[in-house]
């Protein structure tokens, strides 16, 4: 796999506040990489560092395996924080400035305005746009010239449900064409629906990263029931990998360390003379996982 972005141990301090702490992230070509974290977890600071807006106190990063430069930024389309355009210019003139900077011709402007549904408003000044339209123009500007990488910072912030669905479809469409996407969000749902990979940040530190599908596959607990409840409880506590159980309800909920196969549990209990009349695996959602990770790091 080709590495698009490699962040090595970057740290950034604002006075006494440690915004980013020894953060390392690798993004491969073609990934939809989610950076997930609550507000103030260092997502925007990280993106600002890799786009040369902010200087990191330590650490380094590389784009496309090269030292970062203005030329590498021309291959990236980005939206950081709020949409930033000249309020007195219409979207076409605003995008022409972007095209000039990126050494693109103006042919692509019409396409991105159509894609983001702003074509009818191409003669209105940016100032007259609603927040949702401003956000869409930012995405249009990021998509101008079909860049190799798209960086989106909270792209659906401030949009109505229809707008959110539209932008998500757009992201998936662009990703389908092979564009690498880096998406920062505080919405688990969004990352879960769009991303292939995820890094979870909290207070500037990376708590976890990996494939979204793997995160979702981690089984959290099993629900068990047998005719003899007391025997079930005493036997299951001897199962290798047992962590804890909740026996407050009729069904006994059992937690294990690491991955456990339901077949192993069944075989173990049966060989110890217990016949289950209920066994179900409860997968934890990314949300639960995320909250748990945050909890453990307090």
């Amino acid at each position: 796999m080709e590495t698009v972005l490699s962040i090595q141990q970057i740290s950034k301090q604002y006075g006494k506040i440690q915004a980013v702490k020894k953060l390392s992230i690798e993004v491969e070509k073609g990934q939809i990489f989610g950076i997930l974290g609550p507000n103030g977890s260092g997502k925007t600071t990280t993106l600002s560092i890799i786009l040369d807006l902010i200087r990191a106190n330590e650490g380094s990063y590389r784009w496309f395996g090269e030292e970062p430069s203005k030329e590498s930024r021309k291959r990236i389309g980005s939206v950081i924080e709020n949409p930033n355009f000249f309020p007195y210019l219409n979207p076409v003139d605003n995008l022409k400035i972007v095209a000039d900077i990126k050494d693109l011709d103006y042919n692509d402007i019409d396409r991105v305005l159509h894609l983001t549904g702003l074509h009818e408003r191409k003669k209105s000044r940016f100032r007259t746009f609603s927040f949702g339209m401003k956000q869409r123009l930012a995405i249009a500007s990021a998509m101008l010239g079909e860049p190799e990488v798209l960086i989106l910072d909270e792209p659906t912030n401030g949009l109505d449900p229809q707008g959110i669905a539209h932008i998500r479809d757009l992201i998936l469409l662009v990703a389908g064409q092979g564009t690498t996407i880096i998406l920062a969000s505080h919405l688990l749902d969004e990352v879960q629906k769009i991303c292939s990979h995820v890094a979870v940040l909290s207070k500037g530190k990376k708590l976890f990263d990996g494939k979204v599908s793997e995160v979702l596959a981690i089984s959290d607990s099993f629900e068990l029931r047998a005719a003899n409840r007391e025997d079930l409880i005493s036997v299951i506590t001897t199962f290798p990998g047992f962590k804890s159980l909740d026996s407050s309800k009729d069904i006994v909920q059992v937690f294990f360390k690491g991955d456990v196969n339901p077949g192993e549990i069944n075989t173990y209990l049966f060989s110890n003379g217990i016949t289950l009349n209920h066994l179900s695996e409860r997968k934890r959602s990314l949300e639960q996982h995320f909250l748990e990770l945050l909890q453990n790091n307090k």
Binding site: L51, D52, L53, I80, N84, D100, I101, K102
Partner: protein, 276 residues
């Protein structure tokens, strides 16, 4: 350079504030020049009331003095403040709208961004200078009956002086804009400094009681204003033997150029260090 100027032009082309301020500046500039002769003759009339032999009315728009007089009236403090404010607005807008961040994200280096503003300043200075040169030539031709080429261009160096003044003053404004990054604050502090603080400092430093040597000429804005410090009023020369300023000196131009170079270096260094 062309690419950066193209971007700058797109930024100002439909920016109403820029064109309104530029319009007002041109009105002030033209009015100042048209009124100059009238104001001076008014002063002469006032003086004549106390003089036994009345002074004749002056004509300040004939060759070669027209260059000096127009350069002088076009660079008085109150007129100069306009282009400075325009530059401050154009620069601090980029911070207010955060478009400087977006420009850097899109692939402009911070240095290129500074260059684009410096090129714009240079372009504005060249356009203004050409306008003034052309205007002085027309006014001079219509006020002088006997012209020789040597006479026409004798004092045309004052046009270079005008160029240096307008260029360096805009660089001072560039400095204020990039250091403060806030439109209101930059305009307020720049205007306060140019119209109040420096004039006070000037009289303080000029006073022989305070300093033995007059160091008031080293004040940054004063250094700019001194390039074309005085008008040429022949009646004063003839009657009172006063010869205020004969030419634009290299030394006079070097000091504001030195100050503005230092300011550019400070801005470059600060932009390198500071986050956007």
């Amino acid at each position: 350079m062309i690419k950066l100027l193209k971007i700058e032009f797109k930024k100002i082309r439909s920016y109403k504030t820029f064109w309104i301020l530029t319009g007002v500046y041109f009105i002030f500039l033209s009015l100042g020049i048209v009124m100059a002769e009238f104001i001076i003759n008014n002063m002469v009339d006032n003086m004549n009331r106390h003089l036994p032999i009345p002074l004749p009315h002056v004509n300040i728009f004939f060759f070669p003095d027209v260059w000096q007089n127009i350069a002088f009236f076009a660079t008085i403090r109150y007129v100069l403040i306009f282009p400075a404010i325009i530059i401050i607005i154009l620069i601090t807008n980029e911070f207010t709208f955060k478009t400087i961040r977006q420009n850097v994200i899109n692939g402009l280096s911070k240095f290129e961004f500074l260059l684009s503003k410096l090129y714009l300043i240079l372009l504005i200075s060249v356009v203004l200078t050409l306008f003034m040169a052309f205007g002085s030539l027309i006014i001079g031709l219509s006020h002088t009956s006997e012209n020789t080429l040597a006479l026409i261009f004798e004092k045309s160096a004052f046009i270079t002086g005008f160029f240096i003044t307008i260029l360096t003053l805009q660089i001072y404004a560039f400095f204020f804009g990039f250091m403060l990054r806030n439109t209101g604050l930059s305009i307020a502090l720049f205007t306060l400094y140019a119209l109040i603080v420096e004039p006070i400092l000037y009289y303080f430093l000029k006073s022989p009681i305070v300093f033995k040597n007059d160091i008031s000429t080293y004040l940054p804005l004063n250094a700019v204003l001194r390039v074309t410090e005085y008008p040429a009023i022949p009646v004063l020369k003839k009657v009172m033997g006063l010869n205020l300023q004969e030419k634009v000196t290299l030394g006079g131009c070097l000091l504001p150029l030195l100050y503005s170079s230092i300011m550019i270096l400070i801005v470059v260094w600060t932009m390198k260090k500071k986050d956007l």
